[in-house]
């Protein structure tokens, strides 16, 4: 079981309220991603759940029990840190076995569990090495191994992939998702990378300045962003946000159109402009367009589109894919 409930959780550092007051329910077995720009309080929130920071106010319940004042060692949660935080003086075997040793588990049984975890994570060949002799990806696996052996109620991941290179990040993303599918344990994952959030999460929590902006499945956030912030944050490339006359015409303060929801033509479209930069990814081409009277806009076109820098272009948003936002930034 690993149901985590936050009620009115508040965290202040001195006079600064990093998390003003927050409620959240995380169901057992869910993969929840906290996402937001740096400094939005997502890591602090994770550390509050872990018990590494004390709450200023409010309650944290784990499986219905009030854990607000329970020390981290007793919360039965496992954490994977951004820096891996392996014990440099211990071998991989001892690193993974450490939580079991702390739990007072019989050495032979612990050894079995370590071997099993190492097998799952492809670490068997490295069990007698020290962290210093491993690559970044292997270290990350050891950190995960150390977390899974204790069969925690929930896993907490604090930006675990941000120290890895892009290719490895993609692999580890997949591995963590597979791990979640096989273990079915609650996972809370903090990242600033919305691609990680979209690809891994059952449920995404978008945070800004300690507030929850929206909670929902990846596609809910993508299709129905609750406000301008979420609209701009989720999706890559970013949604084009347009104010002024075009928005007023639709009865909104701001309208948003995703780059993939704009049709292109040579002329006769709604907006006219010229291509400033064409980024060719092979499968897609991102056209950065300077639109007359509006400004820069990004358009996702097919890989075979040949438009290049300086070309005149005409854009038409798909009418049913336009998002409308009111003066308070909220979706209409």
């Amino acid at each position: 079981m690993g149901k985590i409930t936050l009620r009115n959780v508040t965290k202040k550092f001195g006079e600064v309220a990093v998390i003003p007051s927050l409620d959240l329910d995380i169901e057992d077995g869910e993969f929840v991603v906290f996402v937001g720009p740096s400094g939005c309080g997502k890591s602090t929130l994770l550390r509050l759940i872990a018990g590494l920071e004390d709450t200023t106010d409010g309650h944290i319940l784990i499986d219905g029990m009030d854990a607000t004042h329970v020390p981290p060692a007793k919360r039965k949660l496992a954490m994977v840190f951004q820096s891996y935080a392996l014990y440099p003086h211990m071998t991989v075997r001892k690193n993974i076995a450490f939580p079991l040793k702390m739990a007072g588990m019989d050495a032979a049984l612990a050894e079995k569990k370590v071997e099993a975890a190492a097998k799952v994570l492809n670490l068997t060949a490295y069990l007698d090495r020290r962290p210093g002799q491993l690559s970044g990806g292997q270290r990350q696996r050891v950190a995960i191994g150390r977390a899974i052996v204790r069969e925690p109620k929930a896993f907490l991941f604090d930006e675990p992939l941000s120290n890895l290179d892009a290719a490895l990040r993609g692999n580890m993303r997949l591995e963590i998702t597979e791990l979640h599918q096989s273990l079915k344990t609650t996972m809370i994952y903090v990242t600033h990378d919305q691609v990680e959030a979209m690809t891994m999460a059952d449920k995404i929590v978008v945070l800004q300045a300690g507030h929850i902006e929206q909670v929902g499945t990846p596609l809910e956030l993508y299709n129905h962003p609750a406000n301008v912030f979420v609209a701009g944050f989720i999706g890559s490339p970013r949604m084009n946000l347009i104010g002024g006359v075009d928005a007023a015409a639709l009865g909104a303060t701001t309208i948003g159109v995703r780059p993939e929801h704009i049709d292109i033509g040579l002329s006769g479209g709604k907006w006219n402009g010229h291509v400033t930069v064409a980024e060719r990814l092979g499968s897609d081409t991102f056209l950065h367009v300077a639109v007359e009277g509006i400004g820069p806009m990004t358009v996702r076109a097919g890989g075979s589109v040949l438009a290049s820098s300086g070309d005149a272009i005409s854009l038409t948003p798909q009418a049913d894919k336009i998002h409308r936002f009111g003066p308070d930034g909220k979706a209409l």
Partner: protein
């Protein structure tokens, strides 16, 4: 680009360095040489350098007059004991200052260090009186406690500096892994700080071994360490330079040998964290 240094300048620096080193080392060398001279040769004018009749008679005489090994044993017990006791107090202290610092932690550290700036003799009378009252005069335990207290600021400071180098996330990881405070310090912090702790131990053994003011003032016979052994040759029967030198060599030899073998560790310890 490496800085270009001409051969001539290099030679100049080398000669200068050797000169300074020899100047610093000369008293020890002279003591060593004198310890192998007869008393007459020892005071001869002009001094004789290497070409005299080398003799071990001073060492034999010194050992006959005083039992070297009882002093040696006291020195070992006092140096090791005060360092061990110091670590026991300083590790938790340095832990809390490094990992859960308060608003006044820096002030506290500075205050601790400032006690080292006070002349020891300023607290001689109170400590002497306390020692009489508690029956600690001329006891090893008394000296262990005093030397521990004297060196404690240095032990705490050194450990604090090493602990600061250890990433806090690793200790947090230990906490998440279910470690109690005791396990965290025992299994994670201490092993990671071993190089730092080793340098601290070495330096403090040296400091405690060489400490003369308190060891000479607070002991007479039964707890007297090697410092007392040396000083006891300096006055009563007039000045016997050769015997005094022999006693000095015997007293400093153990720590000199230990320092020689551990100099790498010491240098690493004293410059730890200076360059990353």
């Amino acid at each position: 680009m490496a800085r270009a240094v001409s051969t001539r300048r290099k030679l100049g620096f080398t000669v200068a360095a050797w000169t300074v080193a020899l100047l610093l080392f000369f008293p020890i060398l002279w003591t060593f040489l004198t310890s192998f001279k007869t008393e007459a040769v020892a005071v001869a004018q002009p001094p004789q350098w290497l070409f005299f009749d080398w003799t071990f008679e001073n060492y034999v005489a010194v050992q006959e007059q005083r039992n070297y090994f009882s002093f040696f044993l006291n020195s070992v017990i006092i140096a090791v004991g005060s360092t061990a006791l110091g670590l026991l107090v300083a590790i938790p202290a340095a832990w809390s200052m490094a990992f859960v610092p308060g608003a006044k932690t820096k002030d506290l550290l500075m205050w601790m260090l400032s006690t080292k700036m006070m002349p020891a003799v300023a607290v001689l009378v109170p400590i002497y009186l306390i020692f009489i009252r508690l029956g600690l005069l001329d006891t090893r335990i008394g000296l262990v406690i005093v030397l521990m207290l004297i060196n404690l600021p240095i032990i705490v400071w050194m450990l604090y500096t090493y602990f600061r180098e250890i990433p806090g996330e690793i200790l947090e990881a230990a906490r998440m892994d279910g470690a109690t405070l005791r396990s965290e310090i025992l299994y994670v912090l201490t092993p990671m700080a071993v190089p730092g702790i080793a340098s601290t131990v070495l330096l403090n053994i040296i400091l405690a071994w060489n400490e003369a003011f308190w060891t000479i003032t607070l002991t007479t016979v039964s707890a007297a360490p090697l410092t007392k052994f040396i000083s006891s040759f300096s006055s009563p029967q007039g000045l016997f330079y050769a015997k005094l030198s022999a006693a000095s060599v015997m007293a400093i030899a153990p720590i000199l040998i230990m320092g020689w073998f551990s100099q790498k560790q010491l240098v690493r310890g004293l410059t730890f964290g200076a360059v990353k």
